[in-house]
Amino acid sequence: MPSFWRNMTAQERRSARTGYLALAPWAFGFLVFYAFPIVATFYFSLTQWTLVDPPVWVGLDNYTRMFTRDPLFLSSLKATLLFVALSLPLKLVLGLMLALLLNLKIAGMNFFRTVFFIPAVISGVAVSLMWIWFLQPDTGVVNTLLSYVGVQGPYWFWDRDWALPSVAIMSIWKVGGAAIIYLAGLQNIPAHLYEAAEIDGAGKWRRFWRITLPLLTPTLFFQLIIELIDAFKIFTEAFVITKGGPLKATYFFLYYFYEEAFRNFNMGYASALALFLLAVIMGCTVFVYRTSDRWVYYEN
């Protein structure tokens, strides 16, 4: 019997036993749905395995292949990074601007909040189908409107150079989700700070830079991490709209992983890909976290 258990009173032990009992479902779930898969993925990534035959140990072969002679690995990584770089800053900045608008106290605001939030709750598939139609090169709304002002619209998802930016633009349509979280953050800022600043003669602009933004940095930080992880996992849109094309322009990393694993059944290599994506996501998260004490403001 471990010493910490021996040193507890009978009542403490009873409380601990109930606590562990309550946690039991989570502990089981943790072992089956988190611990086992992560450990197993490590092992599988060192094997060649098609699901039919037992895995064959190949050491680091999957990783050397990935880093030295796999053009698809590089192109899908590049596409994903480009997508993250395009969509993430826009989503963070536009989300904040939208939240500031939605935080104004004017009549009918609930209606506007609903309007901007709706795209964020629609499924990726439905959004994709809607936008295929919305961005049709010939008869779509956007190109029709552009033609009214004499601009020949691009071929959007069907153009090698425009496909990826199109997916990014479409993802920004869902900015209302980020805005709602900012809004919650904005509403947590105590009103007396603004009143005090106003008495001291601080203008709107100054109040934004000196009060709103610093006090919103915890929300910004949270949002940055969530959106970062989310952006790296872009998949559904490419699967539904472009099938990774044209010419692999939207062949994102997770799409490559999906095809390797569940189309080609190269489970070993796909496991290595999955771990690499995990490493990239964790690396970015840790980096953001490390820099956070320099720009995130905590009241205490």
Partner: protein, 296 residues
């Protein structure tokens, strides 16, 4: 007399400045309103275009210049879409998955959160931290081992892979619920204990009834996530008839790529449950999340 006149002057001045302020405010407001209305129209255009297309005749959908509002709305398109694609079937499948997942969340999350919030035991904070860190694990990393496991257990092409995890507590919900239970005064527990309630009696008679806002978040979020999920169903399900609506829709598109009027109708129908849910839950949701959610 004189002071009266002075007072009157001051009053007039005050009124004038108030009017100017109001005018400024109204003009400021109208700029804001104009901006908001413009943005709202832009945001709603894809949805409007979908609705408009869903009511057109097949020969109208590729017409140029496009008709913004169809001159003779074809409501029959919806009946045709339901007849042609197994839409009702797919929505029913999604509903089954949603209900099973919600039941799992409501059964497991309060118990686990109650354990974290109300009992002391060795390694509690370490376990809580471990639980929080699993929130950050991207789902794709688990797919291959779980696929292998489910195959061994003969569960591929059943709903088990899409339902089981919810019965062991989603870490985000556990976190939310734990934070919420911590705000419920312990005096209430003690009072119930004096009245003879045991640990589980307190959970079911005190904690759960008082946790409605947190449980609403569990229900609504589960609904939205399960209804919209795509990657897991395409991996774990094979049989077309068992597809949820999101997957079903994506696969029609591959098959019937020209019937955009039917398709847009089907897409619109597929988002109706989510929209209804949003309208019903909106108030509780924003309130509930703001109180527990991100405060830094």
């Amino acid at each position: 007399m004189k002071t009266d006149r002075q007072a009157l002057g001051i009053q007039r001045q005050l009124r004038r400045s108030a009017r100017r302020k109001r005018l400024l405010r109204i003009s400021g407001h109208s700029i804001v309103y104009a901006l908001m209305i413009f943005l709202a129209i832009v945001f709603m255009l894809p949805i409007f275009w979908m609705a408009s297309t869903s009511l057109k005749l097949p020969q109208e959908i590729f017409a140029w210049p496009p008709e913004w509002v169809p001159s003779s709305p074809q409501w029959g398109n919806y009946a045709e879409a339901f007849g042609k694609y197994p839409l009702a079937r797919y929505m029913l499948n999604s509903a089954i998955l949603v209900i099973a997942n919600i039941a799992g969340g409501l059964l497991s999350v309060p118990i686990i959160a109650y354990g974290f919030a109300r009992f002391d035991f060795p390694f509690k904070s370490a376990l809580f931290l471990l639980m929080l860190s699993t929130m950050m694990v991207p789902g794709h990393i688990k797919l291959i081992p779980l696929f292998w496991l489910y195959q061994k257990l003969g569960l591929i092409d059943t709903y088990a892979p899409l339902i089981l995890p919810s019965y062991f507590g989603n870490p985000f919900f556990i976190f939310l619920m734990t934070q919420f239970i911590r705000t419920i005064p312990r005096d209430l527990d003690d009072a119930a204990r004096i009245d003879g309630a045991g640990n589980w009696g307190i959970l079911y008679r005190i904690i759960i009834p008082l946790s409605r806002p947190a449980l609403t978040v569990v229900v609504v979020f589960t609904f939205v996530w399960v209804w919209n999920d795509f990657l897991e169903p395409i991996i774990f399900l094979r049989d077309w008839d068992s597809y949820p609506i999101s997957v079903g829709l994506a696969f029609f598109q591959g098959r019937y790529s020209v019937e955009w009027h039917l398709f847009m109708g089907a897409t619109l129908v597929s988002i109706v449950p989510i929209l209804l849910l949003y309208f019903f839950a909106q108030k509780h949701l924003i309130g509930g999340l703001a109180s527990i959610g991100v405060k830094g």
